[in-house]
Amino acid sequence: MASANKINNKVRECRFFANEMTQQDLAERVGVTRQTIMAIEKGKYSPSLEVAFKIALVFQKSLEAVFSYDAAIE
């Protein structure tokens, strides 16, 4: 299991710029529950690579544009 604090994301920001897409809408497009999207946005849950790629695809961005890894936090 990945440590939750090391992976940062801009999912909330991406939703905002995607015409205020709802968490439920994103969850349905990605194939996870709304609670998982919420946990990802709060930085409490680091998604699998597959889900991370799917989220980036929904916003038509690269993975790095949505998720970043902070090596400084241990």
Partner: protein, 159 residues
């Protein structure tokens, strides 16, 4: 409260287990050996256990169906990768409790024969079919720990 289907389902299982098997455990522990003879105690315990098992099956079927009917989509019912991770993590906690209980039961069975140590909890209680109940209570506690850990992880948005 903002809960997924899996979380609601876990809450239901926890409350049902606590109430139904808690009631059964109390009924067995407080049995009075002065009122009932050993055979009657076993008969009453088995009757209560049968009722508890039947009741938990009925409660789970009815209420889990109601929760599922109220869920918005199939994804919530099936669960996603986070649900699976939470389940795995909480299963691990339950497994530890179950293992400790099984080791205690084995110790209780083996010690008098192997080392000649007479350490019998059985003589200090009135619980009928003591060894079976030791295992049963271990299983129930393991389930309660598993459900509680699962709810803790859901409530903290963590895995």
């Amino acid at each position: 409260m903002n809960m997924s289907f899996k979380e609601k389902s876990t809450w239901l299982s926890l409350v049902a287990t606590l109430l139904i098997f808690g009631d059964y455990a109390i009924s067995v522990v407080i049995m009075d050996a002065n009122v009932l003879n050993p055979d009657e105690m076993i008969e009453v315990a088995m009757h209560n256990l049968g009722s508890a098992v039947l009741l938990i099956i009925i409660v789970e079927i009815i209420f889990q169906s109601l929760i599922a009917a109220g869920s918005r989509n199939k994804m919530e019912i099936d669960g996603d990768e986070r649900d699976r991770l939470i389940t795995l993590s909480s299963n691990n906690s339950g497994y530890w409790v179950l293992s400790i209980g099984v080791i205690i039961t084995l110790g209780h069975l083996i010690l008098p024969y192997v080392f000649g140590i007479e350490f019998s909890l059985e003589e200090r209680t009135n619980i009928p079919m003591f060894k079976m109940h030791l295992l049963l209570f271990t299983f129930i506690v393991a389930e309660i720990v598993r459900f509680s850990h699962q709810i803790y992880l859901y409530r903290n948005d963590a895995v």
